[in-house]
Amino acid sequence: MTGKNMIKRLLALLLLASIGAMFASLLLAYVPDTDLNFTARYYAEHTAADIGAANIVTAIIVTYRGLDTLGEVTVLFLASGIVGLVLSFGRKQNTTLRNLVPVGELLTTASQYLAPIIMLLGVYVFVNGHLTPGGGFQGGAIIASGMLLLLLSDPLKRFSHTLIATVESFSGVGYIALGLVGLVLAGGFLDSRILPNGVLGELISAGAIPLIYSLIGLKVGAEFSSMLTSLSETEDL
């Protein structure tokens, strides 16, 4: 190892140690809260009556802080769009030139059985987002990991970009449209109370939250899937 590399390593270690010291000071000063703070108490007390969602986190993400979620979805949309744009330059029609490592029998067989179940789990997670932990982002990521399994078992498999783009656009437009409907019928943009709140804990309850979260789930799933398929189809850059 040369002296230049030694200095580099020392600097990296120094940086790590200082970050560690910063976190250690945070950890040492940590005192657990004995009760909820003002905002948290408001959410804990009012969510069930106002929004009708059993999962308070979902109520905050979709309704109380709906605009932030729209921003997150936009960031993800931009990221997947830019990945697609950059990788489209390296995409070639002729894929027979690539010499591939043969895929194992275990992976091929397992992916045939597991991929549908994984995607079903993803749909379950975002449809039940207002009742159980999880929601659109988690469900979408699970769907994309099902797609990833399919791509791993057959690297030459091609998914329809038109279908992925159509699902993504329709769910995005639907999400914004539901938000605008909230502006007219309920308290404001992305207000979920355009539909009746229903009975707390039932599948069809919590106003428009199941609809909005399903659309977010489809959108996130389509975005991750389009990134993965673009990566898989790219030959060289």
Binding site: T58, R98, V125, P133, G134, S145, L148, F224, L231
Partner: protein, 97 residues
């Protein structure tokens, strides 16, 4: 937090530190695939830690994206880099150091 939980959390933290050291190639045999797997392991253990801290929503995100998608994204990119480098010279793995 009960005594068992505290002990479990301590074990998880130590395992995460070891995995993180493998991931930045300080420990272990310093191969890139093992470093990527170790980085995924850090995320997986972090998601268990989030579950212990009673935030299942964050735990699901961490498990699906941190240990699932990003690990395989790294492998995709690693495979691309290797097939690209093969054209120029034989890949050595430690040539950059």
């Amino acid at each position: 937090m009960s005594g068992l939980m505290t002990a479990m959390t301590a074990v998880l933290c130590i395992a995460m530190l070891v995995a993180a050291l493998v991931a930045i190639r300080v420990l272990g045999d310093k191969s890139l695939p093992i470093a990527i797997l170790a980085a995924g392991l850090v995320s997986l253990l972090a998601s268990v830690l989030f579950l212990i801290l009673a935030s299942p929503d964050v735990a699901m995100t961490e498990a699906a994206i941190g240990s699932g998608l990003s690990t395989f994204l790294f492998f995709f990119v690693l495979a691309r880099i290797r097939s690209w480098e093969k054209g120029e010279r034989e890949y050595d793995g430690e040539k950059h150091d």
